[in-house]
């Protein structure tokens, strides 16, 4: 019989309906062809329920009327055989655009009705919500309790930018830079500069550029530039003979260039470098490229070779600066006991190990306690530690193409 025939024969044929009761007690009817898309409903019908209002199918508690309505919208579309894959995909994409709370409810409801395609669709959508978020954000979105105790959550590795010693160090260097810039400004304001001031600028420049420990002895001429570049900081010889000879030739070029110096050259060069080299203190964005362009242009004029600026360093000033750095380093080192106490005390809370804290032995006990983890550990703590360790690893699914070209070590290509 054709469709037309069946319609002629039964003009009043109505679609069969199924009766459903939701958790709030309300009863509704839905076209059977749509409802049986849900396996749960299908099974219930086969058990003989749902064909009349008096014997409705009792839906699981997680299915409330609004969710049911959504589910049937889904079923109504997909049970039609005529749609193309593209159309179905497009429908699905639009269908899951809803707030996370509803998405969760829908997933739950679809799951209890055993409607796997919809469960897949909504689960993927929820995964996309979770992707890229921090635990705090996820907790907030899903209204979840923050019930991992502090000792279970590994204390987040503190952002070392917060470390007071780092900040101190950075402040010291920033101050040096500022002083330098101040002096430069003063230099322009006054016509004549004391010779000492010029050298201070050089000192500070070299300090900030990292004057090496070797340069303690007095330097007499611009040939320092040559020495500095030629100097092999390493005890190991250069990797092969040819490279040594090359560096010799390049530095002899440098000597030639050095010899045509003048005070004017140096000061203008320094001007350029002052503007160009000193990034503003950390946190401000720099117009690095623009500034460097200027510097570049100016240096072309003077045909100067490199950025070495520790010419004519007054040894006394250099000593002073070296001393300052040493002081600071000492301060760092003496800071350790306090800092360690801090770390230790945090560690003790976290690990809840039966270790007594006494002054001298604390660090040793702590470390030996670590060694006997396997006996005393709190399982959860260790497991959380893996989470933190992992949290900085790359995804396992990123394809790791072999990098590293196996070049023998005697070669200077080391990448």
């Amino acid at each position: 019989m054709t469709e037309v025939d069946s319609e002629i024969i039964k003009p009043e044929m109505m679609k069969s309906y199924v009766w459903l009761q939701t958790s709030d007690g309300s009863i509704q009817q839905v076209e059977q062809e749509v409802a049986i898309f849900c396996p749960f409903i299908c099974h219930e019908i086969h058990s003989g329920v749902g064909s009349s209002k008096n014997y409705p199918i009792t839906l699981p508690p997680r299915v409330n009327p609004p969710m049911l309505s959504l589910i049937f919208d889904y079923c109504r579309f997909h049970q039609v055989p005529g749609h193309s894959n593209k159309e179905r995909k497009s429908f699905d994409e639009k269908f899951v655009r809803m707030d996370t709370k509803r998405l969760c409810e829908l997933t739950s409801a679809a799951d209890s009705l055993q409607l796997k395609p919809l469960v897949d669709l909504t689960s993927r959508a929820l995964a996309r919500v979770i992707e890229g978020k921090s635990p705090e954000e996820i907790r907030e979105i899903f209204h979840l309790p923050d019930d991992l105790t502090e000792e279970e959550k590994l204390e987040p590795i503190k952002n070392t930018m917060d470390d007071p010693r780092i900040r101190l160090l950075n402040r010291l260097y920033a101050r040096k830079r500022k002083e330098l810039q101040e002096r430069e400004r003063l230099k322009y304001a006054e016509v004549e500069e004391e010779h000492v001031d010029d050298r201070s600028v050089d000192d500070l420049l070299s300090f900030i550029n990292g004057g090496n420990g070797d340069s303690k002895e007095a330097r007499t001429s611009k040939n320092k530039k040559k020495n500095r570049r030629r100097k092999d900081h390493q005890k190991n010889a250069p990797l092969n003979c040819t490279s040594t000879s090359n560096s010799t030739s390049s530095s002899s070029n440098a000597v030639d260039l050095n010899n045509k110096d003048s005070n004017v050259l140096n000061s203008e060069f320094r001007d350029a470098l002052v503007c160009g080299n000193f990034l503003p203190s950390l946190g401000k964005t720099s117009k690095l490229l623009d500034i460097e362009d200027d510097r570049f242009a100016r240096e072309d004029e003077f045909d100067d070779d490199d950025g070495d600026l520790d010419d004519d360093i007054d040894p006394a000033i250099k000593e002073k600066i070296d001393r300052e750095v040493e002081d600071f380093a000492r301060r760092l080192n003496s800071d350790w006991p306090e800092r360690m106490q801090e770390i230790l005390s945090l560690g003790q809370e976290r690990r809840t190990l039966p270790v007594s804290i006494n002054g001298n032995g604390s660090s040793r006990r702590f470390v030996s306690a670590c060694a006997s983890f396997h006996l005393f550990f709190n399982f959860n703590i260790l497991c959380k530690q893996i989470a933190i360790l992992d949290s900085c690893e790359v995804s396992v699914l990123q394809s790791s193409h072999v990098d590293g070209f196996s070049v023998p070590s005697s070669c200077s290509s080391f990448w």
Partner: protein, 589 residues
């Protein structure tokens, strides 16, 4: 919400999370999510095999199907890690065999794998499918024979660039006749000839074979035999691409390639005879990945071939391509993502080819999608680097190797600080950087200020003082791996930034100025770090404490000091301060 969400649904949601980072975030949300997540995690990635012990992993994740492990630090590729340092996989295999009988995948990088391990793998996991050994060593073809013989459902066998003791090519015949499951086979690192008949039969009976990378010993004349039996191949690594010029060889080859309609990736090309390259013209337009780094021939045909591949995304090539070839590449391959140019003759100080910074500039300017670069050259300028930085702010990996250490800008003879500074300032998504040339502390200041997404940094022969290292450690927030050689970095920056080291996977410093005393201090004060001193010339305490150590490898760990150290490696912990000989005893030598 949490209450009404059944566990298996949540598990199902988690199964769509592809990145470890997301799974880790999920596990830290709350108790119930932690539990659910750990029970359903199937893939584990461990970037440093000594960071955690197998027991800890197994206790937390009871049902794992895929494990990926990395052993030696990256500088092992350049022979900076002495033989015998470590990275043994056997203890892991033993534990995994006991705990995960359903394990399917093992991927290892830079680990020492023995035949014993391979045999254990082949016998312990009934459903074993994937074995990937990248840059590994320690095994022979006998181990491979076990894998071939016993892994009934083997899908992938990838030997990467491993060092295999090649006892014979016979191992391939151990694949049983009913093995039809292979999808990927990479034997390109093997030296000796495999039985070609066995190979041919294997290829013929594996209808799903998508990747086939042959070794050099497979002759070009026989390649069509394999291609005809596997026209569905997506990636092909040829053997030696050379033969006497004969028209029938050529026509067979061309016909075979014509049949490979799915081919997207090509590699191999040892001893390439350029006259045979046109045989592949029919596949060029579909090629997205091309590895010519073994094609040691300087010939315009190579460049012509590359230019035909208009959809090329990844190109690895020797510097024979020269600036002209790179300019042609820039003009024809607009989809290029990754370029690696290797040196044909790295030991010669004089350039043997006309490859300069101009080639890289041309590609950077011409290829809008270029995001990954490894470039060996002999000269570089700040201007070029600035141009590259400006053209390609989308750069993610930038590794530049100027062959001469401390080579300055060849135009101005200045350090290359400005150039690299431009790179880090402009390329805000930069994740990996390797630098070379003359570099002062200034470049590290730029890096610390701008390279906020940088995860891996490789430095050699650079910097002036501790300030350089300090800038990097205090400024690079995302830094995970730092490897340094031959730089004047000492104790101060390292100790000042000790806590930073716990946020990173590892730090390698060799031929620097870190003193033994500082290493001891670091090891004593930071129990969650393993501070390994590698001194091949003798125990570090044989000199004064201020004496620099040869090599230093620091990595975070929750497994404590390792117990498999060779005689030239010492872990600094609180026991070291008493006496080094006690440490030796403790190691149970």
């Amino acid at each position: 919400m949490a209450q009404s969400f059944p566990e298996d649904v949540l598990e199902h949601v988690f199964s769509f999370l592809n990145y470890d980072k997301d799974r880790n975030a999920v596990s830290l949300v709350c108790k119930s999510w932690y539990e659910i997540e750990r029970l359903c995690r199937r893939r584990i990635f461990i970037g440093n095999c000594y960071a955690v012990s197998p027991e800890i992993v197994i206790r937390r994740f009871p049902d794992v199907r895929a494990v990926e492990l990395k052993g030696k630090p990256h500088f092992a590729d350049f022979n900076l890690v002495p033989e015998g340092w470590g990275g043994y996989v056997y203890p892991w295999i033993v534990s995994l065999a006991r705990a995960y009988p359903w394990l399917e995948e093992i991927k290892l990088k830079r680990m020492v794998v023995t035949d014993e391990s391979l045999e254990l793998i082949s016998k312990s996991f009934k459903n074993f499918k994937v074995l990937v050994l990248l840059s590994c060593e320690g095994f022979t073809t006998d181990g491979l024979a076990s894998i071939a013989a016993n892994c009934r459902n083997l899908r992938e066998l990838d030997l990467g660039e491993s060092e295999v003791e090649d006892l014979s090519g016979h191992w391939l015949s151990h694949f049983p006749d009913n093995c039809t499951s292979l999808v990927s086979l990479n034997i390109s690192c093997l030296g000796s000839e495999v039985s070609f008949c066995a190979l041919e039969r294997l290829v013929a009976r594996c209808p799903n074979l998508k990747t086939l990378r042959l070794n050099r010993a497979v002759p070009l004349e026989k390649l069509p035999n394999l291609l005809c039996r596997a026209p569905q191949l997506v990636e092909l690594g040829t053997g030696a691409y050379s033969a006497e010029i004969q028209s029938d060889i050529f026509s067979n080859l061309a016909e075979a390639f014509l049949g490979c309609k799915q081919l997207k990736g090509l590699s191999g090309f040892w001893d390439v005879v350029p006259a045979y390259l046109p045989a592949m013209y029919s596949v060029c337009s579909r090629i997205t990945s091309l590895n010519l780094s073994y094609a040691t021939a300087q010939n315009p045909e190579l460049v012509h071939f590359v230019s035909q591949c208009s959809n090329l995304q990844r190109l690895w090539v020797l510097d024979y391509i020269e600036d002209a070839g790179l300019e042609a590449l820039a003009a024809s391959c607009k989809d290029l993502h990754e370029l690696r140019v290797f040196p044909s003759d790295p030991f010669d100080a004089e350039a043997n080819v006309s490859l300069t910074e101009q080639g890289l500039v041309a590609v950077s300017e011409g290829c809008p999608k270029l995001q990954s670069v490894l470039y060996f050259c002999r000269q570089m300028s700040n201007a070029a680097l600035v141009a590259i930085a400006r053209s390609r702010p989308n750069m993610i990996r930038f590794r530049l190797c100027i062959i001469e250490p401390r080579a300055p800008d060849y135009l101005t003879l200045e350090p290359l600080d400005t150039g690299f500074g431009a790179i880090v300032e402009n390329c805000k998504e930069l994740r990996r950087l390797s630098m070379s040339g003359l570099l002062t502390d200034r470049v590290f200041e730029y890096i610390g200020t701008h390279a906020k997404k940088l995860e891996m940094l490789s430095i050699a022969f650079a910097g002036d003082s501790d300030l350089g290292l300090h800038h990097v450690l205090s400024g690079c927030e995302s830094l995970r791996k730092l490897e340094i050689r031959d730089c004047p970095f000492g104790d101060k920056a390292l100790l000042a930034n000790a806590t930073k080291l716990e946020t990173m996977r590892s730090l390698w410093m060799s031929s620097c100025s870190v003193s033994f005393g500082a290493c001891k201090l670091l090891g004593q004060k930071m129990p969650r770090l393993n501070v390994e001193v590698i001194n091949e010339r003798g125990p570090p305490d044989s000199g004064p404490e201020s004496c620099p150590v040869e090599k230093l490898y620091v990595y975070r760990t929750i497994a404590g000091p390792r117990v498999d150290m060779p005689g030239f490696v010492w872990t600094m912990d609180e026991q070291v301060s008493s006496s080094l000989s006690r440490v030796t005893e403790r190691r149970g030598d």
